[in-house]
Amino acid sequence: MSIWSYANPRKFLDTTAPWVPWLMWLSAVVLAVGLVWGFFFTPEAERFGSSVKIIYLHVPSALMAINAWLMMLVASLIWLIRRHHVSALAARAAAPVGMVMTLIALVTGAIWGQPMWGTWWAWDPRLTSFLILFLFYLGYIALWAAIPDPDGAADLTSVLCLVGSVFAILSRYAVNFWNQGLHQGASLSLDKQENVADVFWIPLLVCMAGFVLLFLALVLLRTGTEIRARRIEALRNRARRTGAVRA
C-alpha cells in the first residue's frame, strides 16, 4: 500500500490549502460586518426589546447545524458509493463544526426563551429537535473516535449518518406530534418569518453568509488536517512493518 496512492488527497490539499486562510479572513470580515450591524445598528423589536438581536447568532447557527449534517450525509454517500477518502474525511471534519453550531443554536434558542416564554428552557419542538440533532452529532463523532481501522470507521460512520438522517427526519415529525398533537397549528418556536422587516433581514443575511463562509473555511482546514493525520499514520505503519528507520 503506497501512501499517496490516493491521488485525491494530495490534489485536494494542493488545491484547497492556499484558500483556507483567505476564506478564514473573509468569513471573519463578513461576520464582523453582519454582527456589528445587527448588534449596534438595528432597532429593538416590539415584543422582544433588544433580545431580538439574538437572531443574528441563532438563525445562522441553526441553519449551519442542519446544513453541516446534510453535507455529512452527502459526503457519506459519496464515500460509500465512490470510495473517495477525502469525502469520508470531510464528513469527519465537518462533524465537530456542526456540533458546535447546534450547541450555539440551542444555547441562543434557550436564552431567547426567557423573553419569549419567561423560562430558560422550553421543550419547544424546534429546540427539542436541535437537542436530538446534538445527540446525533455526539454519537457520530464518538463512533469515528472509537474505531481504529480508518476505512472501517469511515464505512460504519457513513452507515450511521444515513440511518441517523432517516431517524432525524422521523424525530422532527415525532417531536412536533409530541408537543402539539397532530391538530394544532404553528409552533411557538423562533420563526425566521417573524422578522421579515428589511431592517432586520439584511444584516441577518450577512450573518448567514458569514457563517456559511466560516463553515467552508473550517471544513477545508479540518479536512486537510485529517488527510495529513492519516498520512502520518500510514507512514508510521509502513515504518513499523518494514522496520526501517532512517537515522
Binding site: L214, G224, I232
Partner: protein, 48 residues
C-alpha cells in the same frame, strides 16, 4: 455599551457564549492543524 434595556443579560450571555464557542472552535482547529503539520514534517523526515 448601548442601553440594551431589560433583556441585557440575555443578549450579553447569548452573544458571549456563542462568540466564545466560535472562537474556541476556530482556535482549536487552527492549533490542531499546526500541530499535525509539524508532526507530518517530522514523520516525513524520519520515515518518508
Amino acid at each position: 455599551m448601548m442601553d440594551l434595556g431589560k433583556y441585557a443579560a440575555e443578549v450579553i450571555s447569548a452573544w458571549g457564549i456563542s462568540l466564545a464557542a466560535l472562537a474556541g472552535l476556530v482556535w482549536w482547529s487552527v492549533r490542531r492543524d499546526r500541530r499535525v503539520r509539524a508532526e507530518l514534517e517530522r514523520t516525513e523526515r524520519d520515515h518518508g
